[in-house]
Amino acid sequence: MLDLTKYSSTGAALKDAVEKFANETCLIEADREREKERITYQEFGKRALALGRAMQDAGFQPADRASIIMTNQSKWLISAYAIFYSGGVLVPLDYKLTPAEHWQLLQHSGAKSLITEYSIWRLLSASPARSSVTNLQTVVVTEAPPNADLAGALRWEDFRSNEAPAFNPRDRKDVASIVYSSGTGGRPKGCMMTHENYLEQCVALTSLYPFWPGVRYLSILPTNHAIDFMVGFFGPFTCGACVVHLRTLRPEFVREGFTKYKIAYVSLVPLVLKNLQKGLQARFAELPPGKRKIFDKLVAINKALTKPHPRLWLSRRLLKDVHAAFGGELRAIIVGGAFTEPLTLQFFYDLGIPVANGYGLTEAGTAITVNDLHPFRADTVGKPLPGMEVKIVDPAPDGVGEVYVRSKTVMSGYLNDPELTAETIVDGWLRTGDLGKFDAQGHLHLSGRKKNMIVTEEGKNIYPEDIESVFESLPVKEFCVFAANYVWPRRSMVGEQLILAIHLENNQAFTEELKKDISQRNSRLLNYKRIHGIVLFDQDFPRTASLKIKRNALATLLAQLDRDHAILPL
């Protein structure tokens, strides 16, 4: 791999990678059973530079911001390189957001350019929220049919120039990306990630999970996500490895992708990993009793022999059929975005498939701790990565306290929000808002959250304030949404729920009609954002001088209620 300590920017490192690994394959793209693209680093560079020059000709300057809203595909990475090469700031947005949310973040980020897919642009351009965005100057769309109405956008295929673009160097401390960790409904949290953040994180991660030319990573997690950006783009590219994109995520084609492309690494969210586990367990259950007995014995032998560390060659022989179903080259499944249950992790490890379980936040630059597999531990989130200082602040007698992190990978702050930045980064330490403790072996155990939020199994961060708008004008005196575990701290990372605290008007009764109104409003939210219960509170909510609810003070008051009795299920 490249020696990333020598580089001052992601663009400079990628530029050298493109030259150094010129003849290696860097991208494969398949749509169902059809392979659509297989390109080398040289070709990748050529396409990105043609786009970069066209962007520069259209007025894109160093430090300007350009957003990408695309599903996982080769043009995502080509566009990102064009932006970095030009010295721009990348704003990767989650393609699964609604058009209104996209426009909100495009405006907040100050993006001057947008690169997106035609099917997404159709919805974006028709959205009334488009009129509120003033900064966007250039929109480039991919895959538009020949006679499509582009609604003011430019066609990707035509937006190129054969002239060489200017390479605009950046400093390590310059912002490379603005990554939204959440906040689509209320207060957008745009994490400003520097070039140094990415360079340092890449060195740390690849020291544990190395890539090299010929090794293939299957990109399934959205590339805007910090994990896929690092292990599905920057990491493999600085090592000359190959990234495989599938244009469909239907299980039958994903299965085929593993075997056809001999995948070495893949990243998944816990929900998908669990589904994979269920599928495998169902297949094992169908084995005839005799075969099942032999299989269980082989798993037990594998488990015993891989206890100190993984022995991939041995596991692949002992459990040949299981490994063959994954293509026979799988080195590890990287799981992230949310807490993964130890039983799921152990299930895969016992089959000889190590799961790189860890703990991270976008704000900290992807990963803070990762399991180094020496030995594998399903009960922890691993040890701090090289270069990460992690401390436990204000520990309780059992050692559990808030996890603080200091590292060159920690973001420089939240875009346009110095107040939130000051609350989050204190004296150079990032307050994670998560609770945990270290064990004698230096492994971190997470045991709950101190912050008012939940994380779903799909890796989605839900901040209560972001969903309150759906309850606006509810006929009550006042209301507030909380994460139940924030109000009543519970040593658990699973089964997190949201609750709606309500203060009724004087003499107002909690009627069936009101409950129905709340249920109807709740159903307007996506299922993973819905509240699970109501808490009735009979005092005025504490408020600031500007009449904002003091959430922490209200939570302290609510905590005096008995949790089990206070939450009325919806």
């Binding site: 595909q73 393609y95 609604t98 469909t248 299980p251 589904n275 799909e458 939210l525 299922n527």
Partner: protein, 80 residues
């Protein structure tokens, strides 16, 4: 070729069958993520079923962001 109204009705009927709902319980303007509370994997299963029924290929990326049956039916109609 069927009309868009027919296609929409077929999509609704198939979705009702797929998610074991009473006939007539879904409407064209319904947001299927919100109404059915389904995740992305379940949506992909529904898409596969619709493809088989209409004998078309409906790329995931072409229906990305589509959340109501009416728009879904329009995307299908354009491929018939």
């Amino acid at each position: 070729m069927p009309t868009i109204e027919n296609t929409t009705q077929e999509v609704l009927t198939l979705a009702e069958q797929h998610f074991k709902l009473a006939p007539g319980s879904l409407a064209a303007s319904d947001d299927f993520f919100k109404k059915l509370g389904i995740d992305s994997l379940q949506t992909l299963e529904l898409l596969s079923r619709l493809e088989n029924h209409f004998n078309i290929e409906l790329p995931d990326y072409e229906v990305q962001g589509v959340s109501d049956f009416k728009t879904l039916a329009e995307r299908i109609q354009s491929r018939l």
